[in-house]
Amino acid sequence: MKKIIVVVLVLAFALSFVACGKGDALTVAIDDTYPPMEYVNEDGELVGFDIDMAKALGEEMGVEIEFISTGWDGIFAGLAADQYDCIISSVSITKDRMPNMDFTNPYLANGQVIMVNPADSSIATMADLTGKQVGVQFETTADYAAQKVYEEVGFEIVAFDDMTVCLTAMKAGQIDCIVADMAVAIDAVMKDSDAFMVSSVALTNEPIAIAVNKGNTKLVDDLNKALAAISDNGTLSEISIKHLSADYTQNIDTELR
């Protein structure tokens, strides 16, 4: 009896290694609580702009894509620890991030915008946020942007781990507005124009790219080649129109503001 237990345990142990082996696939980390870029739909499927784009890149590069769902906090630590090859999860290029990781060329224009309830038209700039409860996703560029000015302007930052929880919180009236990526705002308004409205111009310019562990220049090159290919042949634009109703992938402003 003892012998059987030992054999079973050893097998289970060995199998666990096989299960987490990398194989030949390109492992891509995503925070799947971020519509329309990466999220889980009503049917429980993983969908979104980044999902479609990653798959297109995989085809172009001739590799399998393996998505790894991980919370936003810790996503960069995981990259540094080589738990996956890259992050394709609406990662904005910022000066602060550049020392810690390498970026491909940007594939999507982006900036922070403010989302409000359509009934409330008083908020157009950061300065109008005084006395409000402002929702952001924890440790995103929206969070950082809000952190820079909240004391001065006088508002409260409510930072959520999940973007979806943040959106629901606004619908529930627990927060007054949200600062988020343009893509998130566009999608929220598209899906629920009774609850959301974009009330400001882009407050920052922070195009989105793929993040790769520092020093992995080969992967950056391979990805850039593939990105250029799907951009040229129109695949990228198609994906943008599908998820964002318009093409934000061409002529991207690369100046960081």
């Binding site: 936003w72 906090d73 996503i75 924890f138 440790e139 929880v165 529930a172 009236g173 627990q174």
Partner: protein, 220 residues
Amino acid sequence: MSLNINQVLLFAKGTLTTLELTFVSMLIGTFFGLIIALGRISKSKILEKTTWVYVWVFRGTPLLLQIMIVYLAIPLMTKEIFGDAVKMSRFAAASIALVLNTAAYLAEIFRAGILSIDKGQTEAAKALGMTRRQTMVKVIIPQTYRRVIPPYANEFIMILKDTSLVSAIGLAELYRASEKLSSSTADWRYLFIAAAIYLLLTSVATQVFAYFEKKFSVYI
């Protein structure tokens, strides 16, 4: 590694929130837990059934889910039904969920304590002319303190750690503090600092409860 003053403050604030949530939920939870426990052993069928359902629901669903429901689902529901959403601060939402959850667990702990007291005690009290209420307050419940302390301490320590769940609704407690620092710098060592603080807090709690257990055992 060394921490600058801002980081120390961040951890300090987070720890304070963790402690506030723990004490609020344990104190209020104890009060309601006792009431529910008495309801569970009451002769009234209605009381017994209602409290049974309460315990069943709040022990049978995850705390994280309860926190989300209080913070998100309740306002959304009231908005739909009444047109106006019930608004509450995150601390209030978290506290409510924690209290509801704690009360259920403590109710069962108290009930077990009360039932473990020898039947002869109740008989002697009755034979001396005491009412059921007098018996409970003067004879039974004081004898449960000693027995109830180990599982109570357990619950306290669990809640102290479970407060980390409130980060899901954006409350800045201890775990959040370490999340914040470690994710912005990709330095995992902050997580260990948080772990050390939790361990320190739970160890202090353990010692305090051990002291009280000894104190209440003086007549044994």
